[in-house]
C-alpha cells in the first residue's frame, strides 16, 4: 500500500465520520463545523484526483462562503441543543433504515454491473486553472454568462423574501414586539 492509497483511506474514513457527525450531533453549530470538515476532506480528494482548481474553489465557496452563511443564520436564531426539535425514536430509526437500505440496494446493483477501471497514476493537468479556463471561456462561455443572470435573480429574490412586510394588518405573534422598533 503506497502513500496515495493510505491518504485515500484516511480521507475517506474522516469524510464519512464527519458526515455522520453532521446528522448525529444535537447542536446545529456542531453540525456546521462537521460539515465544514467534510468539505475539507472532499477538497483533499479533489487534490488526489488532480483537480486543484476545484479543490480551492470548494474551500473558498463552500467552506468559506456558504457555511459561514449557515453559521450566521444559526447564530442569529440562537439555536442550540436545547431548542433542537427531536423526532421520535421510531421515525429516526425509520430514516436511518431507509437510508441504509438505499445504500445496500445501489451498492449491490453497482457491485455486479461495474467494471473496474484503475484511474491512471500519472498526473494530468486538466484540473489546472489554465486548461479549465480555456474550456470555460470557449466551450461553456454562454452558460457562464447566464449564471451571472442566475446570481442576480437569486440576490434580488433573497432581498425580496427577506424584506420585512409592513406591520399593519399582521396577525403574527411577533407583530406586537416589532411595533416599537419602527418608531
Amino acid at each position: 500500500m503506497d502513500v496515495l492509497q493510505t491518504v485515500f483511506w484516511i480521507l475517506s474514513a474522516l469524510a464519512i465520520g464527519c458526515a455522520l457527525g453532521v446528522i448525529l450531533s444535537r447542536n446545529p453549530i456542531n453540525s456546521v463545523i462537521f460539515l465544514i470538515l467534510t468539505f475539507f476532506m472532499i477538497s483533499g480528494h479533489y487534490i488526489l484526483l488532480n483537480a486543484q482548481f476545484l479543490a480551492v474553489v470548494n474551500i473558498i465557496v463552500y467552506a468559506g462562503a456558504i457555511m459561514v452563511l449557515f453559521l450566521f443564520v444559526i447564530m442569529l436564531m440562537n439555536l442550540n441543543a436545547d431548542t433542537e426539535p427531536q423526532k421520535s425514536r421510531l421515525i429516526q430509526i425509520a430514516g436511518a433504515v431507509s437510508g441504509g437500505t438505499l445504500l445496500l440496494v445501489v451498492l449491490a446493483a453497482l457491485r455486479t454491473s461495474m467494471y473496474s477501471v484503475p484511474l491512471e497514476r500519472q498526473s494530468t493537468d486538466i484540473g489546472l486553472i489554465q486548461n479549465l479556463g480555456q474550456t470555460l471561456f470557449t466551450k461553456f462561455v454562454l452558460p457562464f454568462e447566464i449564471s451571472s443572470v442566475l446570481f442576480l435573480s437569486a440576490m434580488i429574490g433573497a432581498v425580496v423574501i427577506g424584506k420585512r412586510e409592513p406591520a399593519s394588518g399582521e396577525e403574527t405573534p411577533g407583530a406586537a414586539l416589532r411595533q416599537p422598533n419602527q418608531n
Partner: protein, 99 residues
C-alpha cells in the same frame, strides 16, 4: 486507485445525506444534508472526469457550485422568513400550506 472506490465513497456520503434529511426536523440541518448530497455527486463527477481525462465534468462541477451558492442564499432567506413568522425552524410546524 480504482474508480469504484470513488463511486462507493460518494454513494455512502449521499446515503448519509438522505438519512439525515429523513431523521432531522431542524430545517437548517436538512438544508445542510442537501448540501452534503450535492458534494457527494460533485466528487463522483470529478472522479469520472479523471477517468475519461475530460475537463467538461469539472466545468459542470463548477456550475453546480454556482447554482448551490444561489440556492443557499434563497433557501436561507426562506428559512429566516419562516422563523420570523412562527419562531421556530421545526419543519413539522410547516406541514400545512394554509395556516
Amino acid at each position: 486507485m480504482p474508480i469504484e472506490y470513488y463511486v462507493f465513497l460518494s454513494l455512502v456520503l449521499f446515503c448519509i445525506g438522505i438519512a439525515g434529511t429523513l431523521m432531522r426536523r431542524n430545517a437548517i440541518v436538512i438544508f445542510m444534508c442537501i448540501e452534503l448530497m450535492l458534494n457527494a455527486t460533485n466528487l463522483l463527477l470529478v472522479a469520472f472526469s479523471k477517468m475519461h481525462n475530460d475537463p467538461s465534468a469539472q466545468i459542470f462541477v463548477f456550475f453546480s457550485m454556482v447554482v448551490a451558492a444561489a440556492e443557499v442564499a434563497v433557501g436561507l432567506a426562506i428559512i429566516v422568513m419562516m422563523y420570523r413568522k412562527v419562531h421556530s425552524v421545526d419543519v413539522n410546524i410547516l406541514n400545512r400550506l394554509k395556516h
